[in-house]
Amino acid sequence: MDIYIIVALDVINGTASLFLLCLGLAIIFGMMKIINLAHGEFIMLGAYATVISANAGVNIWIAMLVVAPLFVGLVGLIVERCLIRFLYGRLVDSMLATWGLSLLIIGIVTTIFGNTIQGVPTPLGGFSIGAYRSSYYTLFLLAMAIIMMALVYAVMRYTRFGLIARATMQNPAMANTLGVNPARVYMTTFAAGAAMTGLAGGLLAPVSGVTPVMGGAYVAKAFITVVGGGAAILSGTLSAATLFGTINQIGAYLTTPVYGEVIVFTSAIVLIRLLPQGISGRFFKGNL
């Protein structure tokens, strides 16, 4: 019995972290049709920001929840102004340029901090269920995922900025005619997406080894989740993250963690083949 609770917790953990990891990428892809292949490196920058500020004496919660998103959001802003804004509408070129950016960021971080593993201790303790132990941090990740989801939904649904952003997403030319400056909307959206990615990196820093190349482990998973989810930012990402997170953890439980990943990748390929528009293109058309 206890083992099922633990597996259920693992599934929750996998889904929540996958959702957090993908949200920034989904916002950038869904709103701007830019595939940001430097997404993994944004996660890495968030994790580094957390580790370095926490080790410098900043409270771990502030380091995770404030420093990481602010820093990566700023990086995102600079990247958008210097690189991405020349590449709107050129999907392949934007993928190439952001791939170059990802290599560049890895190179810079390796040069500064060296190719070593850094880390911070996991805050919050653990609890036991029968013979097994689990960490409160899992529940905290779930809470953060729910908070982020609610936040994005509220901003997109109820604020003026959300209205403008959704209008620009649907029809940039029309929005422009009505007095909106799409360039500014894109800039803000990219920075916001980067900040959320940084937050995800910060939240994962205590539970993963922080190295310059850690982004590579996440970018493919985030990529398939966003594409599998389709154009709708929240419902698409949430459904794909739940699906893939569950498959991953159950597959890992039944076989090994490596084959768990293999099963996820295989099911993602089948999903894309069956639903080329993603889950939300089929089931939640027009949703947020």
Partner: protein, 349 residues
Amino acid sequence: MTQRLRLLAQTLAVFGVIIAVAIAPGQLELFTLMQFTLFAAMAVLSLSLAFIWGFGGILSFGQTAFFGLGGYAYAISAINFQDSTQGIMLAVFIPAVFSALLGYFVFYGRISDVYLGVITLTVTLILFNVINSTSGDEYHIGTAMLGGFNGIPAVPTFNMPFDPSTPLSPEQSWWVTGGALIAVYLLLRLILASPFGRVVVAVRENEVRASLLGYDPRLIKLVTFVIGGAVAGLAGALYVNWGAFVGPTIFSLSLSAEIIIWITIGGLGTLLGPIIGCILIEYAVAAIGSQQTLNSNLVLGAVLIFFVLLLPKGLVPTVRDLLLRLVPKIEPRSANPAPEPSVQPVGAK
């Protein structure tokens, strides 16, 4: 007239390269020759993506899947048969079959663009994960241990066809690798000059128009993809022959990225450009690796961003355009201007 001149120049260039390959061992030190062998194997890999991306319009983020499969197919069969002849054949055959299956799945499902990139990338990751987890004695094919993340060491290198007792010397290996590069280049040139090649370009330019003219874009793309897979597999065998080792990092994402960088730098839509881009970048990476101040990722990333933003056409097309700007000044004076083709070939822009 210019057509004929261009053909003459190209023929001369090919002969020049063949002679250079033939006499290189006498002129270079062994270390440099080995390095050039590696570059030539990588250049074959770059040609495979140059063909399917530049002419077929299929951007595969996972060309290393076929490269790695070719490498593993060669290594496993060379260990089992103790003869590289079947190994090389299998290294071409297995990736071709695999790319045919994958291509059927993808193109007949009408998956395009980003989704194709995602699928090829994912397949590469699957192969990497699977091969990486095969350490242990229970994972073997025939007498070849797969070795998991340690890879397969001491793979037999090329030998004379059907004569396992005579392995090739490094010089002969260079001739085989350089010769393979030239052969693949000429083969792809021939394919592109054939009616099939023109249809491939037509599908890249406009899929709907090509299908209205009676061609099946799915089939054309599939065949293009399979040719690319077979060439990448051959490159894998050449690469394993160079190092006598194959490990799961052959499937790595960074190598996939590097192929795309070679082509972006050399020039998409050419065959010469990717070879030049490949050799330049590989040379630069080797040079950077020998010193400590600059990180190779940093340089590669900066170069890629520079080219995408400022020189998106790549080196070879840029240089060619510069040269062509000089040529028309001479052209009108020629007595027989090249006659306009009476029938517009399929796929002409």
